[in-house]
Assembly symmetry: C2
Homo-oligomer: 328 residues x 2
């Protein structure tokens, strides 16, 4: 029995969906749902294609009350730049949660992932950072460095922005781009320590396997969101900082244990505070995040299937006529 | 960077792809590749959606030397018939194995799965059944009962066909359909024992959780393909029959251990012949299947990602202009 399937390309998605307070609210609702029970989120399916220096991940999640569930396929092929192609591609497929029929194919090449990932940073800042942030800092100079600062600015409109990266030229370009985009002062700094010590809100966006932020640099009122580490072996923050913080919050404990900052802290035997709280639990008031202005808070984002299901469901509901409609 | 994506609907796929010796050869090559090393086939991603009596499975496999790899999403929503919809839907996505770019979206609602599953039955019959089969029998009366007999007939053109099912009316309709389709004598039989004892080639196609074939019914020359059991708890053949057979062959040992006939035999402590051989190993001559005319052989098919990658790669290579081409 044929039914309508919506097919939307990356170019069309870029026209209709953007990183704004609406998408931040969509992702906040997803985390709240994750904490409210009934979510089914299987472990990530992951396949290596060593011959092509490639890998592919598949994520999904079912959220009670949502009309659809997304399956996201994210290939990463790291020889692609040699061919003039981007490393990251992929698509999201939205299925009806009532019938399993395909509703939408979002051929987004990772664009919706970029949006939902940055939006999670805003959600973390909204619930964990100081109410007033004067200076924000970002470590890393890529797409997520830019998007994370745009997202944070939506909920904490800071006056000044610092950028640190291994490549000083890229850091300068990133700072200039963000200065123009947000209309605020932004500068590149050579030292991660200077950046952390001068900022109330810091976001790390790197694939680092060595901590970039030391525990000694924590200072009263600081909030850090670590969104770079999303695979075993990656680590952006000194494991001792997790213990030293007043609140260390995971997007999903089961993922942070194996692919987030928590992995190294557990491996080193440093973490002994039991099960960390999750961002959704803080959102719904089941757990506490920041309790005092002087608290240091850290949020560990590994990326969850509920974010994919939430953004895909939102796009289909909001723009049902976008793209091409195919009878299939 | 936009590139061409091929989108083919079920109706179009039914026009261009059929169960024939070509598709059987495609699936045989996939099994041979599986035995030749280098295949990457991660465990199946599986998610339950209890609120809708639904489930969704995701399978994939990378085969060295193949231009693409498929990711198949198979939702099963068992309240759908109440809504006038089929229970099974889904799609296959073909990616370039060199770049990870999406090449084709096959909106097949399980049609390509039906074909590749039946083709595997033909491959098993080709390599394990007697060279001459007079009578074939099928247990089950659904889509796969029909397709498995069509597939077997391609490689072993039998003269007579028996059908057994719990619903005698459905068995009669299935026998009549197959008689018309193959132009041979076909009849429904009330007893599974009669069917097995009268046939040289038997295929079981049911979701049974109780053995339908008893070990005592095995007779010289018999080949059985069990393709129904594909989930933990399902079982179509008495576990003692696996031990009694001269050759028990898995499509993939790691899958048969947890979701095939082997599961029950291992759980009951009956299986003590070590690691069974795989169909691909028999195809490439690495292991032996049938050695003598009087041997009893059993093949356990749980369904593998290499079959999906093989059929999807074939369809794209053979019919690159089929369907709709989208710039995305």
């Amino acid at each position: 029995m044929a039914h309508d399937i919506q097919i939307v390309t990356e170019a069309e998605l870029r026209r209709i969906v953007s990183l704004d307070l609406t998408t931040v609210d969509v992702i906040e609702a997803a985390f709240a749902a994750l904490a409210s029970g009934g979510v089914v989120m299987p472990p990530i399916l992951s396949m290596d294609l060593p011959a092509a220096h490639g890998e592919v991940d598949v994520k999904t999640a079912y959220i009670p009350g949502f009309d659809g569930f997304a399956i996201k396929v994210s290939p990463g092929f790291f020889n692609n730049p040699l061919l003039g192609l981007p490393s990251l591609n992929g698509l999201m497929i939205l299925f009806s949660a009532q019938t399993g029929l395909v509703q939408s194919l979002f051929l987004d090449n990772g664009y919706l992932t970029d949006i939902r990932t940055a939006a999670a940073g805003a959600v973390a800042a909204r619930h964990l950072a100081l109410a007033v942030v004067e200076t924000a800092g970002v470590i890393g100079t890529g797409v997520q460095a830019r998007l994370q600062m745009q997202a944070a600015y939506l909920v904490r409109p800071f006056k000044r922005l610092l950028v640190h990266g291994r490549d000083k030229d890229k850091a300068r370009v990133c700072a200039a781009d963000l200065s123009a985009l947000l209309g605020i002062e932004a500068e590149a700094v050579d030292s991660a320590e200077t950046l952390v010590c001068s900022s109330q809100l810091v976001v790390t966006t790197t694939p680092s396997r060595q901590p970039l932020i030391q525990a000694e640099w924590l200072h009263p009122g600081l909030h850090i969101t670590a969104m770079g580490s999303d695979q075993s072996g990656k680590s952006e923050i000194d494991p001792k900082a997790l213990m030293a913080a007043d609140a260390y919050i995971c997007d999903r404990v089961s993922q942070c244990e194996v692919s987030g900052e928590l992995e190294a802290a557990l491996a080193a035997g440093i973490w002994n505070k039991g099960r960390p709280s999750e961002l959704g639990e803080v959102i719904i008031g089941q757990k506490t995040g920041r309790q005092r202005a002087q608290d240091v808070t850290i949020c560990d984002l590994t990326g969850t299937g509920v974010q994919d299901t939430a953004i895909a469901t939102y796009v289909h509901a909001q723009f049902p006529q976008a793209g091409t409609i195919l009878q299939a």
